[in-house]
């Protein structure tokens, strides 16, 4: 099965949810006009508000249901074709059961209930919260407790947010739970300018193909752009195939939409030649024992 994915990297206006929703509406309209065959649209981490909000998280956080309702309304304002359907995957600050989270929503939007009922497929709450240097997430949001794969119209996928991917265990869990596509949403501030690429882009260019190649999954990366208080996000949205080839990569600083075709059959082809995931599954019992031992005695004697 093939489907068309688009990644839009934009510069959100700080704390201005309504304005940023309108920007997403413009993207809906553009995709409908320019490439209505697009099936999935991915947008970066915290795209509705900007990333560095500190206490402002509590001003902009909303429930997934409220966000879904807003996105659906904006979609239907901008897309009038009655059989139009678009899956969307985006990052937002969430208020859920009395706590704030840095979350990602995956939902199916439709232009008409008569054609297909719109629905929320999954909410991922960021598992690894960076709290060092320029980052201070644990101060303002709670940590998600699970990493899940979930069914979509195009097969089983997972979402991870930024630092989640800097720990190889996250993508491993997603792949073991059946994800064939991993959507990675990020707000990655640029730092270190000594090499060919900005330091964090160089690291993403290792991490994302690494995830794809180790587990033979598609990786769709959406990176925020724009500066927030001197800290510039490095964009570089990309789509990586299950062999680790980056098929297309957006610029590090400009707003853009990138497009690629995802062929889910490639996952099986890649895994047949490099059955690393199957090898991992076969050793899970031993790995689990090891992990339990480590968890029970965290400090070496």
């Amino acid at each position: 099965m093939k489907y068309e994915v688009a990644v839009a990297q934009i510069k959100p206006q700080k704390g201005a949810t309504a304005y940023n929703l309108d920007r997403i509406g413009e993207i809906f309209a553009q995709l409908e006009a320019d490439s209505p065959e697009t099936s999935v649209l991915a947008l970066p981490e915290t795209v509705l508000s900007g990333y560095f909000l500190e206490g402002g998280v509590r001003d902009v956080a909303r429930s997934a249901e409220q966000l879904f309702a807003d996105l659906l309304a904006v979609y239907r304002q901008n897309v009038k074709r009655l059989d139009a359907v678009l899956d969307i995957c985006l990052g937002f600050y969430e208020l859920f059961e009395g706590k704030y989270y840095n979350s990602a929503l995956y939902a199916t939007l439709t232009a008409s209930d008569d054609f297909l009922a719109p629905s929320i497929a999954h909410i991922h709450r960021k598992f690894f919260l960076p709290t060092y240097g320029v980052f201070d997430e644990k101060r303002f949001v709670s940590r998600g407790r699970t990493i899940e794969a979930f069914p979509t119209r195009f097969g089983r996928v997972a979402m991870l947010i930024c630092e989640d991917v800097w720990h190889s265990i996250s993508a491993t869990l997603a792949a073991l739970k059946g994800a064939m596509v991993v959507y990675v949403l990020s707000a990655s501030p640029g730092r270190e300018f000594s090499g060919r690429h900005i330091g964090n882009i160089a690291q993403w260019n290792v991490l994302l193909p690494g995830v794809a190649e180790e587990h033979n999954v598609w990786v769709v990366y959406a990176g925020l752009v724009g500066f927030e208080g001197g800290k510039g996000f490095t964009g570089s949205s990309q789509v990586v195939d299950p062999w680790g080839n980056s098929l297309i990569q957006a610029s590090m600083s400009d707003e853009a939409i990138i497009r690629a075709t995802i062929d889910m059959d490639d996952v099986a082809i890649a895994r047949a030649n490099s059955p690393l995931l199957a090898d991992l599954e076969a050793t899970l019992g031993d790995i689990t024992l090891q992990l339990q031992q480590i968890a029970q005695s965290p400090h070496q004697k």
Partner: protein, 287 residues
Amino acid sequence: MNRLPIQYAPAFDPSSSDNLRINEALMTDWLVAFLQDEIVRRRKMTKAVVGVSGGVDSALVAFLLARALGAENVYGIRMPYRSSSQDSLDHASLVVQATGINIQTIEITGAVDGYLNLAPDADGRRRGNVMARARMIILFDQSQKLGCIPVGTGNKTERLFGYFTWHADDSPPVNPLGDLYKTQVWALSRYIGVPSVIIDKPASADLIVGQTDETDFGITYEKADRVLYYLLKGFSESRLVEMGFPAAEVKLVKRRLDTTHWKRHLPTVAMLSNTSINDYYLRPVDY
């Protein structure tokens, strides 16, 4: 015995500045994008003012602003005191010629002496601070007149050394150079086309005749930047000495760093509640 070749990793060279190398093209693009985003997108302004001293820092900022906003939207202000060197004025003119930015000269002598005549005992440090603060009054006033933003030029080395007048040189709300060591400012300036006479001359605040930064510091920028690089990474003084840095230089740089933390912060406010601003009530600068 069949002896195998042994290959040694190269020893650390404390006289190497390799760790301070930058990708000038990449950094230029980034800083231009920074200026465009912070000035135009965030603040909805199209113009900027910058004090052009004739030194390398303000020259580099003028070049970056010209790229970011267009030379016609950049206003360089020369603000000489009567003791300022002619070289400073001439080099500021070179920057204007090379970039095409607008230029205006506003003497600060009257304003500065108006106060200093009432303070005849003021030493060089006090006089320098008055000049720096007078320049900042003018820069902010000119920005108000032009409906634009003043852009700062302080580099990372002088910020870490506290080598600036508090709430003067450090006060413009946007600064593209504040995370660049002085040696990196030189490298970027060479790349972007700042005239070499400006880059190669001894850096000076030009507040006192004959003054140079490195004489004031007691160490060259090159040596100081290498030590600062490792101190900021978290290396201890003893570790740096073990790596081959001269103990006296490490001590000098560390003392400068440790005695100036206050200059890199806003004023100390007595905390009295659990809604204390910037302790509990936290909102970012661009919120």
